[in-house]
Amino acid sequence: MSRGDLTYDRYTSNGSEEWLMRIGPRGGPALLFLPPFFEELNRSRAMLVRTMRALAARGWTCVLPDLPGAGESGRLLEDIGWDDWRSAAFDSASKEVIATVSIRGGCLLDDVLAARGAWRLSPVSGAALLRDLDRTRIADDGATGGYTPSAALRAGLMAATPIENTLVRTVRLSSDRADADHKIDGAPPWRRAEPQSSSELAELLVCDIDTWVRACVAS
């Protein structure tokens, strides 16, 4: 299969098989994408895939796992605990993975691979994600788009904050006042109910990820 093509593979975590999507050559230096959670993933998916394709064109193998209970996973979200997601982030990383690329809630998982570089976009606390999920439920008369996290997942999320280590680069949108190593212009796709063109934002992300990870590897 030629460079840039998309394939689906399996990985095993806690005894169950989950899907992961790969864009780029098998066996090359790889970036593990740790996706946003719940509805934020659906809203961000087009941007994620566009970013992965553009990084593949620059020679990176980009891997996006389905977390257990999310995406095409055969398991039910109701049966998933926080430790399942932590384990899945670790188990989905092949030895070729040299850095993680995490968006929003995904940044709460990248410390399981702390030896690798961790590039983060708009990290958020688990408590803030739960507040948003519960608020959406109220606004939508009890329907959270089907997201019903277990008590164990809620408890883990409630306590989770992004872990700082020396190999982290934090990027935020320029309209976000919070501290960051770098700010880029763009609107947060994870907040938009309406689909939007994501090409400009993706290109800005690609440039920063590519430059930073190469510098990480070289140092």
């Binding site: 803030a128 507040r131 309209s175 006042r177 609107a187 947060p188 309406e194």
Partner: protein
């Protein structure tokens, strides 16, 4: 994670940025908002589902918590009321 706010103008700028980012409104349109510009029930983009995302983003960016019982149609009625509510939360 968010530095303390000490300035009315910063809350105003953050609210305008969030309206652009979350509702997809034009920067020029939002820059022209005055205290009496009607929001909830008047702007088509400002519906009940959008309110959830808007409040969550404001919480994150201003470092505040907004309780459900504090949210009503009056607080969201116009730009001035929403800004006053946020200033009281963020600057105390």
């Amino acid at each position: 994670m968010v530095a303390a706010l000490n300035d009315d103008q910063e809350v105003d700028a953050t609210l305008r940025a969030v309206l652009v980012d979350v509702l997809g409104l034009g920067t020029d349109q939002v820059a022209a908002f005055t205290e009496s510009t009607a929001l909830f029930g008047d702007l088509p983009e400002f519906d009940s589902m959008a309110v959830a995302g808007l409040l969550s983003e404001l919480e994150e960016r201003l470092g505040i918590l907004i309780e459900d019982d504090e949210v009503d149609a009056e607080m969201l009625e116009n730009y001035g009321r929403l800004l006053t509510f946020l200033r009281a939360k963020a600057l105390r």
